[in-house]
Amino acid sequence: MASQPIVLLKRLLLTASLATMVLAALVATDSIGAAPDTLTREALCWRMILQTTEGRQGLVSSLWFAPLPTLLRWPLVVLLPLPWTGLPSRLVSLVSALAALTVLWRVSTRWLPRAAASLLVLGTAAHPAVWTGALDGGDAATLSFLALLFAASAVRWVLEDRLTHLVLMALSAALLCLTRAEMILWTAAGLAFLTAHEWAAPRLPGQRAAILILGLLPWFYGVGLWVLGNWLIMGDALYFLRSLALLRPAGEALSTLSSDPFRHPLWGVPILFSLLLGLAALIRREGASFLPALMTPALLLVAALADAFGVLWDQAPFGLPALLLGMFALARSAALLPLRFRTPAALLAPFATLLLLILPAPPIPNGWSGLAPETTDERQAVLREIGAILPKGPYVRVFVCGYDAFALLDGVTDERFRHALDFDFAQAQQDYEGHHLFLLVPRPEGRAAMESIHWKFPGLFHAGFANTLYAGDWGRWRLFELIHHPREEL
């Protein structure tokens, strides 16, 4: 047993190494641009802190702006009030990435010799896609951690039948649904697979039902919480789903992507590993490994489905989880090899080759469609120029619609500008009787096309309404003057 001073020294070294890595990572963030939603989410956090209506609405009212990433940033925004730095978001993504790598490490060491597992994890960590996801403040790292936790727990539940893994699988499924709406489909597919497994598995009386309750209930509860939040805050339990009415197949997509995500070479690597695992599972007749083998293709399918309906406006949140799931599949494949091939020397060579193949590949492009976020100067210019053309006097109100308004209006003290996530013409006229009213609407491209202003008043941006007057364009924003209460409403 190691002596006390050596144990202390080891702990000190580990702490110092981790601290250095974190510091280096934070210093390096300057070279890694923030994910597009970073500032919007942090601005939303501030609205929640100030207990504004838009803050509460912004948490739950959009299927495309899931609640959990906001809630994860909330405490850090409170503790680190540094606007426009994106630091809270970057810390969340960094911690998520570390957690994801930890999960990968723990499952890899169960199935691989430590040297091979170390190479796998370090190689994965060294990849630019992982670094970008860890430091850009986006949701990719959080999704990767939860997806990996779900996959690993599911496999271990099937193999070991331990309650801990069932619980972790169930909780990670619930959290995934609240991180990204598309993951509702992905987790549903994973849970359906597990349900099928439970129906076939020999169980004691009542055990199957108990397992299904414990395994599925958190998922239903997570989705149910989102519905409940909409009922409580928006007054409409299905408010966040109403934008689905705008979905159209690819040809009539509301947005066009700036790059084709599925041609990127890095997608091929996880798919290859999944196929490898599927083959190994087939040869070894091991049902548990079919699940991780199918998970990356399932993720690709979900992403393809989203793309088919024109709602895949950022690919990186799918690319990074796919990469990590692919690594997980590779580790599991190695575990299915005959014992004579599982020596450290036999495994190190392919992993070293793998590193040489994937390291040079660039990160999956973000492919953020259409509307890039404005810089601080651009935001200020927009508001200044709009302010200049407004009528003089205090009886003017400009309702700024959409989630992008969180960033646009962050820190703005001009009383004339009001955020409106759920704009109601009649209510506005009633509340501001006698005022000059204006509406600032984002161009319906990318995610902005799913805003409530567009599904409540289709065609508003391009054609206006009978009682609106076009008042000008500023970047992605179009200003309308409201003359009367418009007749057309959803």
Binding site: W74, L163, G206, A209, L217, L225
Partner: protein, 468 residues
């Protein structure tokens, strides 16, 4: 022969006894706190309200997080002492020590035959058992029932002279004085321990740290499906003994003992002066005292099956007594907070405060917060908005939607772990049961003031079920 003093703790260490429920300084401190709050409420009601709800909500969040932490810890391999058949088979009966079993009885004539049968089923050499049936001298019914049974030589009757307080811990102290075994265990009248429990305890003591004074067995019920109350009771017990207590055990910290199936090293227990005769939850108190004296408790992976109280009236009374005992324990051990910190250390004191004090405060506050939540949902009662600043509101919402679900889910997990698969769905319907717990807690608070030593006896024999 000296007559053992069953009230030794109250006589020799009054500062550690619930003989005097409230010390003067505690009463003064509590009164001053209440007065200060009332003054603030009179002068600045909004600030007082904000302060109260902020503290309460923060406290809820702390408790919820702590309990989830215990659940997380409970899955560790070192959370319990586990022994397999091979370990038990390797024990030589010649090496087994004399084991004392104390069974305090009062008006338990109908339980006596089953009790005797279950004790005789213990897989332990009969000549190495020292079983004392602790009977009150004036309990003629039980004495006659015991006399009618042809009890083996390992059984003996120890008569408890009539005196106040007439409590179980007092009887156990007399039994402790007469115990001859190296180890000792307490069982209740309706208990049915697993046959190999004593051998597991012997192994546990031999293989653990010499500072381990107590091994706590798990408790569960042999009538879990008798009615809705026993189902909920089982879910609660499963969560407590199969998840929460193992979590505490893994932390090697202070542990409130269960009322029965606590295995002790006899001699060190005597140095602690046994149980507090004036505490109606003497088990909880002993768990804290032994930790203060530098001893430890571990969980033992064995079960004693008991009868879950299936009658609501008796259940309320039983639970009232438990919570009153917890309140007594909390008051006793916080009389001298500096000394408590010195003896327990900050870490253990923190665990004590949360597991004992935290539970009580939660139960007492629950009805208020449930009422406010119901009002908010039904009437969207905006009058409360000023008392819930954004951070507090978010903490409250987290406790409401995440914390409550987590507790229900934990109950379901406990049932699964206990292999009561059909009870998993009932565990998800626990909130009405929590209301009953809060009713009992308020009842306990009233009794603490008006009748602190009153022992509401639980009636047994309401079921025909027996242990699996």
């Amino acid at each position: 022969m000296t007559v053992p003093d069953p009230l030794a703790l109250a006589h020799e260490r009054p500062e550690l006894s619930a003989f005097q429920p409230f010390w003067k300084r505690q009463t003064i401190a509590l009164a001053l706190l209440l007065l200060a709050f009332c003054l603030l409420a009179a002068v600045h009601p909004r600030l007082a309200g904000r302060l109260f709800f902020s503290l309460a909500t923060f406290f809820y969040l702390l408790i919820s997080s702590y309990k989830m932490f215990l659940l997380y810890r409970s899955v560790r391999s070192d959370a319990e002492l586990r022994f397999g058949r091979s370990d038990i088979a390797a024990l030589s009966e010649d090496d087994l020590p004399l084991y004392s079993i104390l069974i305090p009885l009062y008006r338990e004539a109908e339980s006596l035959p089953h009790l005797a049968a279950s004790l005789q089923r213990l897989d332990y050499p009969a000549d190495k058992l020292d079983i004392q049936l602790l009977l009150e001298e004036d309990d003629r019914e039980t004495r006659e029932a015991a006399a009618r049974l042809a009890l083996p030589p390992s059984f003996r009757l120890t008569l408890i002279p009539p005196s106040l307080p007439r409590t179980k811990p007092k009887a156990c102290n007399i039994g402790l004085a007469h115990a001859r075994g190296e180890f000792l265990v307490i069982y209740d009248a309706e208990d049915q321990p697993e046959p190999d429990q004593l051998k597991k305890a012997v192994l546990g003591f031999r293989r653990s740290d010499p500072r381990v004074l107590c091994l706590q067995s798990k408790l569960n019920f042999y009538n879990p499906r008798q009615n809705w109350l026993t189902r909920f009771f089982t879910a609660e017990y499963s969560s407590w003994f199969d998840l929460s207590l193992p979590g505490l055990s893994s932390l090697r910290t202070v542990m409130p003992l269960g009322g029965t199936s606590n295995h002790f090293r006899t001699e060190p227990l005597r140095t602690l002066l046994g149980w507090d005769a004036y505490n109606v939850a003497e088990d909880c108190d002993l768990g804290v005292r032994l930790c203060r004296a530098g001893w430890k408790t571990r969980m033992l992976d064995t079960t004693t099956w008991e009868e879950a109280c299936s009658d609501l009236g008796f259940w309320i009374r039983q639970r009232t007594r438990w919570y009153k005992g917890y309140m007594q324990t909390f008051l006793v051990h916080t009389r001298q907070p500096i000394r408590l910190l010195r003896e327990l250390g900050w870490r253990n004191a923190f665990h004590f405060a949360l597991i004992v004090g935290g539970m009580l405060i939660t139960l007492l506050l629950n009805p208020l917060f449930w009422t406010l939540t119901a009002l908010w949902f039904i009437r969207r009662f905006s009058a409360l908005d000023p008392f819930f600043p954004p951070l507090v509101f978010l903490m409250g919402a987290t406790c409401l939607f995440v914390g409550n679900f987590a507790f229900m889910y934990a109950g379901a997990l406990g049932c699964y772990r206990r292999r009561c698969f059909d009870l998993v769905k009932y565990a998800l319907l626990m909130p009405p049961y929590w209301l009953l717990m809060s009713i009992a807690a308020w009842r306990a608070l009233v009794q603490l003031v008006v009748n602190p030593f009153h022992w509401e006896k639980t009636r047994h024999g309401l079921t025909t079920h027996r242990a699996p």
